[in-house]
Amino acid sequence: MEPTEKDIAFKQLQKENRILKKKLERSEADRAKLEQTKNSKESLLKQVIVELQESQGILEQKSAALEQAIETLTLAQSKLVESEKMAALGTLVAGVAHEINTPVGTGVTLASTLADETEILVAEVARGGLTRAQFNDYLDTAQEVTALLLSNLNRASELVHSFKQVAVDQTHLEQRHFNLKNYCEEVLISLSPTLKRTSHTLTITGDADLYIESYPGAFAQVITNLVTNSLMHAYPLGKQAGHLTLDISQQRESVLLSFKDDGCGIPANNMEKIFEPFFTTARNRGGTGLGLQIVYNIVTQTLKGKVDVTSEVNQGTCFEISLPTNTGAIPKND
């Protein structure tokens, strides 16, 4: 017998009823599950927010600590720069002390010679046996000794004067009017003991009549650093007799100091780094990497000039410092 339309409709209804009942059962279970998932999510997100806040706190602390560290480092760096400057001054003091020793020592010898001669003379006078010839001898000696004494003491006083100038100039940067070449020579006198221990020579050439209105202490620093660098870095084999030259000239609108050595030169890939603070190829020999940084700062900031370097490996290095005549250094030809 064929199922009637009613039969089919009834079967369909029964099926739908079964499905609905099953779905109801299932949805209860699923709802509980979803609720749990939702609660878990809420708790998870809360916890993550707490973590985020914590790590934000940690980050803030860290950045504060970093700032502090940077400050400390900046301070340490400026202290190092200061002490490198003092070291340069130290080199000068040692040199000057050595220089002064010679005339003062000679002076002491001469003075004691004069004292001895005078004592003999006084004794002869007291004995009443002083001869004309003896007296004349004494006068000759006294004249000679006092002349020598005078020249030695003059030399010492000159040295003290020039050192005082350099030292004062370096400790208080004051502007004054001075002869550039003479001043450079004075600086080099203080460096000469260091130089004498080597077989290198240093010559100053150029315009002897060039006066400028500027900061002499700054020049002393720059020259000292350049010379010590050449001595320290340019002749690593130690044997060569190097030629260092400092030339002073006046260009149209600037003063040019050109310092050269004929040493080993600077490799191309170091060239852009040498002015950076702490770049040194001689850390094991006490290099600080601050010398050229100081040169750079003094030239560009105090003297408002420019510094250029050219170098060729095995040929030598040349530092050219040019100072504008309108600011900082004002040349005057007397």
Binding site: K15, I19, K21, L34, T37, S43, L44, Q47, V48, E51
Partner: protein, 382 residues
């Protein structure tokens, strides 16, 4: 020629449901005999009866399948408490069913042996394998390891059978038999081509911690603390929650895979995850928004379409993690909608919600045991 038919019924009555499914398939096959098939069934059905009905009609069928936590097909979309069957018929594509039984005794060796036996029945080398694995009696990752080592570079796709979140019992189907502790599989060979895609949608959230004590798939300590504390910290419950799997970063790697925490031991403070975790791995809890989960579905399907080597796929088989369903709730059907929107309406599709998915990562042919992913397998005649 490859002919694919799909049937799907949500009638809770076992006999009514299976008869409806068979009738739908027969209508589509139009008299052609099917060679092989896959059956995904809700737990509550009378499975023996269902299989009996199928074998009365198709006595020669190479059939595999298992219990599911939700079923998907191109006939009814997503359904719970339903039955879905996909049948394949072809004159030149070979499809053989095999089974590994009592796998918990020695998962790796038994899976290996079963594959070798089934391979001997084939006249040509297999192209790929679809496996339906037990999920409760043993760690499915070791089963996959056994399958993969016998198959070499032939990829394995599939899912682990489920029981609607009760985690008590689940069944696998091999021909007319209802089994447990087993892994039935199909080997495909001959002029068939395929592609696949896999994606999740979960993203790590919170801080990264290190697994400091783990044995296989049981994590005892995280950051030297009982592993369960990790979940307590985030979820404020002394229990794990599968909807919040762990992102596992193997040591030294920046990519992660997901491991759902399927169980725990409150006394020891350990958690059991679905698949092994390397020692010293970093873990991070994960979270998924509904949209991100659906985006995952879309991107897995899109990737498979992009990679498909043939003219046009003729069938899609999908394996989606049941945990996706728990998160999606009433939006679960959007998974099917997202894939249907990308493919031809006519593309026959069938799949189920699993307790773990098997598929290679993108651009690889060694399969991996995943959690919380959506796996798409596309196939068609060459």
């Amino acid at each position: 020629m490859l002919k694919v038919a799909v049937g799907h019924s949500n009638d809770p009555d076992s006999a009514e449901a299976v008869d409806e499914v068979i009738a739908q398939c027969q209508a589509e096959l139009a008299g052609v005999q099917p060679r092989a098939g896959m059956l995904f069934s809700a737990f509550d059905f009378d499975h023996a009866l269902v299989l009996q009905h199928i074998y009365q009609v198709f006595p020669e069928l190479e059939l595999i399948g298992g219990t599911a936590d939700g079923e998907i097909s191109s006939v009814l979309g997503f359904q719970q408490d339903s039955l879905t069957l996909m049948l394949f018929s072809s004159d030149d594509i070979e499809i053989r069913a095999g089974v590994a039984r009592q796998v918990s005794q020695d998962p790796v060796t038994i899976a290996q042996q079963a594959i070798s036996e089934a391979q001997q029945q084939l006249t040509a080398a297999p192209k790929f394998c679809v496996a339906i694995s037990e999920s409760l009696t043993t760690n499915p990752a070791s089963i996959l390891h056994g399958l993969q080592s016998a198959l070499g570079s032939v990829p394995v796709f599939g899912g682990a059978t489920a029981d609607q979140a009760k985690m008590e019992q689940n069944y696998q189907f091999y021909k007319a038999e209802v089994l447990n502790d087993s892994v039935p599989f199909l080997l495909f060979s001959g002029p068939i081509c395929f592609s696949h895609g896999v994606a999740s949608g979960w993203r790590p959230i919170g801080k990264r911690s290190q697994v400091t004590k783990v044995i296989d798939n049981t994590i005892y300590e995280i950051d030297h603390q009982p592993a369960l504390d990790f979940y307590h910290y985030y979820l404020n419950e002394f229990a794990t929650d599968v909807a919040y799997p762990l992102a596992v970063y193997p040591p030294g790697e920046e990519t992660f895979f997901l491991r759902g925490a399927s169980g725990y031991d409150a006394e020891v403070g350990s958690i059991t995850v679905a698949g092994d975790v390397p020692e010293d791995a970093f873990v991070q809890i994960t979270e998924a928004s509904l949209d991100a989960v659906i985006d995952g579905t879309r991107s897995a399907f899109e990737h498979a379409l992009d990679q498909y080597p043939g003219q046009k796929p003729e069938a899609a088989v999908v394996f989606s993690c049941s945990w996706r369903r728990y998160v999606l709730g009433t939006r679960t059907d959007d998974e099917y909608k997202a894939m249907a929107a990308l493919s031809d309406i006519a593309l026959p599709s069938c799949g189920f919600y699993t307790f773990g998915e098997m598929a290679p990562f993108k651009n690889s042919n060694r399969s991996f045991f995943h959690n919380t992913t959506f796996v798409t397998l596309l196939m068609g005649h060459q």
